[in-house]
Symmetry: C2
Subunit: 339 residues, 2 copies
DNA sequence: TTGTACGCGTTATCAC
DNA sequence: GTGATAACGCGTACAA
C-alpha cells in the first residue's frame, strides 16, 4: 500500500471513465457538469486520495499559489501573529505561506527581494513594517506583477493594498485617559526617527495633549530607538525633570520596560508615583511588575484581512483596511498622587 | 521594458544558439560541457536576467524545493530564530521556507499535516518541539517520502534526522554552579508532564543535585505548565516552604518571571534572599528586574544545521546533531546570604 | 455536457 | 559534448 506513485488526474479519469478535462472541471467546481458525473468522479477522487499537484497547476496557470511574508525586524510575537492570521485565511485553500526575513540595512535588499519574488514566482507578498514603509520596495513588487499588501500604522497605500492600525488614534485615546485620571505632566518616549509608527504615535501624543488642553513640554519628550536600553536612558532624563512627570507614554513596550527599570532604581514607585503606558502588548508587558498598561493592535485579524486582499484582489477594496487598537489596562497606571 | 513575459529556457537556448538541454546542463552545472559553450550560455542568461521556473523544475523532477516548518506553540522567539537559521542555510539556494503553525490538540492534526505535505509536495519538513516528540507524526512524514528532521531537547531520533540541545547537561551545570556558590536548598519548578524538554530538565536537575551531594527534597519541587501563572503559583508553594529555598531553578523563563512576581509580593528580595535561574533566554529574561540568569540554547545554528540535514540527506550524518546550551549569567543569582 | 489536442517550462532518455 | 523528443500533471481552446 505504498503511495510511491501518487495518483494523477489521469488515474482519476481512467478509473471513473471520463476524460481528464471532466475531472479538471470537477476539481475546479465548474457549474456546467452533470451531477451524476460529478459524484462519480468525486467518489473516485476520495477513493484514490487524489490531491491535485500544485506545481503542475502553477505551471499551467502561469501563477503560483505561494504568498510571501517579507519582514525585517519587528518583534517576534508580531511576526508570529501575522503568520497565524495568514494561515487562518489560507487554510483549506491551495495557498501556502513562505516566509522571508530580510535585513533592512542590507545593500542588496532590493535585489534580494526581487530575486525571491521572481524565483518563487510568488502570487502575492505581504510586507510588514518597517519595510512596508519603503515605497521603492512596493514598486519592485508591482513591477514583478506580484500582488502586494502592506501592513502599517498609517495609510501607506490605497485600501486594496493596505491593512493598517490606527496608532495615532490609539495614542490619542490613551493620553485622553491619562488626562482624565488627572495627570497633567505627561512624559513621552518617542520611537526612532524615520519609522512611520514612531511618527504616528508621536502625533497621536501631541494631538492627545492638545485635546486635553495640556501644553507640550519639550523637557518631557525624549526620543528612543524602540529598544530596552533607550527606554532606560530616556527614563534617566525624564525622571530627572523637575517637576517630574506623573505619567509617561512610551512608544513601545520594551522602552516602557526600560523606563520602569530606571524608575525602580530611583525608588520611584510605579504606578503610585509614576504611571506608565506602553505600546504593542508584547509578552514582556504582562510579565513585568507591575503589569504594563499598553496598546494592543489586533494583529491576527489584520493579517487575516491582508491575506484575503492578497488572494482575492477583486474583493480587496471591500475588506476592512483600518483596524483600531485596544488599550489593555493593567496595573501600571493609576491616578496621580494616589499613594 | 516590462517583464511581462519572463524569459524561459527556450529564449536562452534560441539566443545562444544551443539546444535547451544544453542550457539545462549549464544551469545544473553538468561537468561534461564545453567551457566556451558554457560561458556563452551564461552570458545570455545574465543578459536576459533569466531565472529558472521552480514550478516547472518541480514538475519535471517530481519533487518540490519547499521545506516546511511545522510547529505548535513554542515561544515566538524560538520559532523566529528557527526561521532565521533555516534561511541562513537556504539563502542562495533554490529552496524556500513554508511555515505551518498547527494546533497540537486538534483531532485532525495528523490529517492536516499529511494533507499539507502532500498538497505542497514538500521536499522536507522540520518539526519543532513539542510536536517533534510525536513519533506517529514522524512516521506520517516518512510515509509520504518526505525527509524529516526533528528538533528537540533529547535524542528523539538518529543523527541524520535530529538536531537536539542537551538540556539535561545544561541544567546539571546550572545546578552545579548554584551549589558551587553555596546554595544548599535549591527549589525546582518543573515543566508539564509529557513534554520531553520538561523531563530532560527535571532529570538534569536531579542529576545536578546528586553530583553536588545534595539530597532531593519533594517539598522543593513543584510542577508547572511553562506559563507565567503556574510559575507564580509554584512560587507560592516554594516560598511557603520552611526553611525556604535560597535558590530556585525554573524550567523556563516565563515561570521564572511568575516566581519572581510571587517573591516580590512577599517582600523577598531577588537575588539576595532568593536566586533564580530560568531556561530559554526569551525576551522576558533580559527585561525583567532583576535580569534573569537563564540557559540559552543556540537556536539559530541548530536550525541552520537542521536545514542542512534536510536539503542534503547525504551529509546529514556528518553534521552536528547535539548542541550545548550556555548559561547566561545575569543579576538574578548570587551567593546565599549575600545581603 | 463532455472529449481531443496542445501548451506551460523544465529535466531525462537516448541517440548522434 | 550536444540535440531531438518525450515525459511531468494540469488547464484551455476548440470541437463534438
Amino acid at each position: 500500500m505504498k503511495r510511491d506513485a501518487k495518483p494523477t488526474i489521469n488515474d482519476v479519469a481512467r478509473l471513473s471513465g471520463v476524460s481528464k478535462k471532466t475531472v479538471s472541471r470537477v476539481i475546479n467546481k465548474s457549474p456546467l457538469l452533470n451531477q451524476t458525473t460529478r459524484e462519480k468522479v468525486e467518489a473516485v477522487i476520495a477513493d484514490l486520495g487524489y490531491v491535485p499537484n500544485p506545481q503542475a497547476r502553477a505551471l499551467a496557470l502561469r501563477r503560483n499559489f505561494l504568498i510571501g511574508l517579507i519582514h525585517d525586524n519587528p518583534n517576534a510575537q508580531m511576526v508570529l501573529g501575522v503568520q497565524e492570521g495568514i494561515l487562518q485565511t489560507i487554510r483549506d485553500t491551495e495557498f501556502a505561506l513562505v516566509v522571508r526575513p530580510v535585513d533592512r540595512h542590507s545593500p542588496t535588499l532590493m535585489e534580494d527581494i526581487r530575486h525571491f519574488i521572481e524565483q518563487q514566482r510568488l502570487y502575492g507578498v505581504l510586507l510588514l513594517p518597517p519595510i512596508s514603509e519603503n515605497d521603492g520596495l512596493a514598486e519592485v513588487c508591482r513591477d514583478l506583477g506580484c500582488t502586494l499588501v502592506r501592513m502599517g500604522s498609517a495609510r501607506l497605500d490605497d485600501d486594496a493594498h493596505l491593512v493598517a492600525s490606527n496608532d495615532r488614534q490609539a495614542v490619542r485615546e490613551a493620553v485622553a485617559w491619562l488626562a482624565g485620571l488627572g495627570h497633567k505632566r505627561i512624559g513621552f518616549i518617542a520611537g526612532p526617527a524615520g519609522f512611520r509608527s514612531a511618527f504616528e504615535r508621536e502625533q497621536g501624543f501631541i494631538e492627545g495633549l492638545a485635546e486635553a488642553g495640556l501644553a507640550p513640554d519639550a523637557a518631557l519628550a525624549v526620543r528612543g530607538d524602540y529598544k530596552f536600553e533607550s527606554g532606560y536612558e530616556a527614563g534617566q532624563r525624564l525622571l530627572d525633570a523637575s517637576p517630574r512627570p506623573t505619567a509617561v507614554f512610551s512608544s513601545n513596550d520594551e522602552m516602557a520596560a526600560g523606563l520602569l527599570h530606571a524608575a525602580r532604581e530611583r525608588g520611584i514607585d510605579v504606578p503610585t508615583q509614576l504611571s506608565i503606558i506602553g505600546f504593542d502588548d508584547t509578552a514582556i508587558a504582562a510579565h513585568i511588575w507591575p503589569p504594563l498598561t499598553t496598546v494592543r493592535w489586533p494583529i491576527v485579524p489584520m493579517a487575516a484581512a491582508a491575506a484575503h486582499k492578497l488572494i482575492d484582489p477583486e474583493g480587496a477594496f471591500t475588506r476592512q483596511s483600518l483596524f483600531l487598537s485596544d488599550l489593555v489596562r493593567r496595573a501600571s497606571v493609576t491616578a496621580p498622587g494616589s499613594s
